[in-house]
């Protein structure tokens, strides 16, 4: 009933190949954008921005980036935390070296630098595959964290080795630092997320995405039909690194404001983003959003229910969080191995036929 194509006529090729061909889907997408850009900035407060929306937006960017690499191109990476650190430190160095330049440019440049680093660490993927590649990227994770801890130039020789985001603005509005208004930081991240999601969606629908998927599904067959594995894999690493770098830069400059590399960008971060991608759904842009939302919101919801509503001791709730999140992940993967995105797809199929399933 809701998702029917009947009566939704396409009169040109452009209309036929648009991102959301079904009218209801398209309107829902516009509605989400309208609420995100037009409503939330007016009602947002510090708590919602800093505790829920900023981490969600930033992790969504990171999981889109990782999803391109793992979900679309089939190259397993455990180096996401390290690559996010590259984005963060690149952004920090740029912010402190060129204070008058707009944050938009700094974040994009940080993404670009991360893309280069990511390609460098992606080179071994031409020779090694699967688990072995995972180990190689794991080496990148540990090396990068060690590097940022070891070389004082990266943290401007500060006594503690921490990096702190100074106040920087975009068009005269503060984006980083403690005095930045909640709506500004939210909108700043939202613009990047929208941009990344649009780019990713269109890349994966076109030639580029098809070559990635060909490599993922069977690299030898892909090579025989004329896909250049070097180009396909390196572009996947570059695009993925670009997005992950943007996420790292935003994570440091807008969300946390001060970062210690081992703590913020450790191996846990790599796994967290990988879980988001797996739970959300490999090879799906929507899945990246769903996975990020799931893993950002669930702990907060459990905390609010356990501590604020039921009044349980905080340590019990924290332990329960681990148990519940773990159990949910296992259950999900058993019942729906293709993640939340597949759940959404099935729901759409059902809704199409509803209320007459036969």
């Amino acid at each position: 009933m809701f998702y029917r194509e009947a009566g939704d006529f396409k009169l040109s090729y452009v209309e036929d190949s648009q991102t959301f061909p079904i009218r209801f889907d398209r309107y829902r997408y516009y509605a989400v954008l309208a609420v995100a850009f037009g409503v939330i900035p007016f009602i947002i407060n510090d708590y919602w921005a800093n505790a829920i929306l900023l981490p969600f937006l930033i992790y969504a960017i990171a999981s889109i980036g990782l999803n391109i690499l793992v979900g679309y191109c089939g190259q397993v990476s455990l180096g996401t935390g390290g690559f996010m650190a590259v984005g963060a430190y690149a952004c920090y160095k740029l912010m402190t070296a060129f204070p008058e330049v707009s944050m938009f440019i700094h974040v994009l440049l940080a993404g670009g630098i991360t893309a280069l680093v990511c390609v460098l660490f992606g080179l071994p993927s031409l020779r090694i595959k699967g688990f072995y590649l995972a180990v190689a990227t794991l080496a990148a994770q540990f090396f990068l964290v060690w590097l940022f801890n070891r070389v004082p130039w990266f943290y401007n020789y500060s006594a503690s080795g921490q990096i702190n985001a100074p106040e920087r603005e975009v068009f005269g509005i503060l984006i980083t630092g403690p005095n930045a208004p909640a709506w500004a930081t939210y909108l700043f991240c939202l613009i990047f997320l929208t941009f990344c999601a649009l780019v990713a969606r269109n890349l994966t629908r076109g030639t580029q995405g098809r070559t990635w998927m060909a490599i993922r599904d069977m690299d030898i067959a892909a090579e025989i039909i004329g896909v250049n594995p070097l180009k396909a894999k390196m572009t996947a690493f570059a695009v993925s690194g670009f997005f992950v770098g943007i996420a790292g830069a935003l994570f440091f400059s807008v969300y946390l404001g001060a970062v210690e590399v081992g703590e913020a960008f450790g191996i846990n971060k790599s796994f967290l983003v990988l879980f988001m991608v797996i739970i959300g759904g490999l090879g799906s842009i929507f899945g990246s959003f769903a996975g990020a939302a799931f893993l950002v919101l669930l702990p907060v919801v459990l905390k609010v229910v356990g501590v604020d509503m039921l009044g349980w001791p905080t340590d019990i709730v924290a332990h329960f969080q681990l148990v519940i999140v773990g159990a949910l992940i296992v259950t999900f993967l058993i019942l729906e191995p293709h993640g939340l995105a597949q759940l959404w797809r099935v729901t759409k199929e059902k809704l199409r036929l509803w209320p007459f399933p036969h």
């Binding site: 708590y47 505790a51 503690s160 969300y255 946390l256 905080t314």
Partner: protein, 427 residues
Amino acid sequence: MKLTLTSLALSAVMAASPALADLVFPDLSYRTGPYAAGGIPFSDGYNDYFTLVNERDGGIGGIKARVIECETGYNTEKGVECYESTKGEGALVYQPLSTGITYQLIPKVTADGIPLHTMGYGRTSAANGKVFSNVFNYPANYWDGASGVVNYLLEENGGDLKGKTISLLYHNSAYGKEPIRTLENLAAKHGFELKLLPVDHPGQEQKSQWLQIRRDRPDYVVMWGWGVMNQVAIQEAANVRYPMENFIGVWWSGAEHDVMPAGAKADGYKAVTFHNVGRDFPVFDDVQKYVVDKGLAAGAGDQIGNVLYNRGFYAAMLAVEAARKAQEIHGTAQIDAAMMRDGMEALEITEERMTELGMPRFGPSFSVSCENHGGPGLVGVTQWDADTQTWSMISGFNPTDREVIDALIAEDSAAYAAENNIEDRCN
């Protein structure tokens, strides 16, 4: 425009709405994760003191204190969530017990006008009240700790450390790196050689560091550790038969749970401290009577008298005294965060007051001023006795090398002020 006004009005209502009933003291604790062993006793002590004040005295100036506990797991992201979710409740002072979270909160609390008390941790140069208006780290900071260790070693060696080697075994994080610069300056001043041995988070893997210590045989090993790193280090020291009396930890590396796993071999291990240890204070009888016997003790209630329990207890005592001072200055019992800040800035702890509270010689006597948020930095030394399983003070609270520390504080805080365009206060 209309929407902006509505949202402004809405946020104004939200900001004004917290009920002006209790004095709120958030406790950003960590009872889970790799550092829980240190987080639990501290949080228990912090909570118990407020419970004691509520039960025995009927609150602070007649108003009950309310502690909101929020679990951070020593994780900065959760710390941000905790800060944002509790600040709207009318929080008076934050004590996150984590250097990482402290670095995040310093700009935030300054923007929100809430004081932050980082007792013996956090950013050392916050002792300069001219730059850091809302951050306090009295009665002592990391650099006092480093200087306290060196002073103690000087005393042991008849005032001369020339030609000696000291190895610093440190947690490779902001926390562990803090003392390096001070120790380097002190090494230049006193002519000893400093060797750096970083240990990565969480600190379970220290074989190579101790191999190096075994090879180099430094005269002294100083440790800047936290959590599981402490236990492993002391165990490893015992394994390589490093003499324990030459092994000195900072105050975060000197609690019962750090030395217990090594058993009798940990006997003689030392740590510096800025407050007294043990159960031998009249106030703990009150805790037994008003808190434990009534079943109100925080956590499992088995930590009373432990080093870190005492530290949390002491932190809460200083917060309550600052709140009292704030009530006195502003002539109202219902203080807010800005008034609390004034109270902390005017805080004076005397021996008489501590005796009155049933805590004689619990900490040094000190006073805070607009310029000096760090107190005098008096540091004592404690030693572990494995037979009786007790820590005991083996020195009084002695002054540290102000000349070296003050210069470093001035330098580091000036850099922060320049980076963030802060003008000097207190003129």
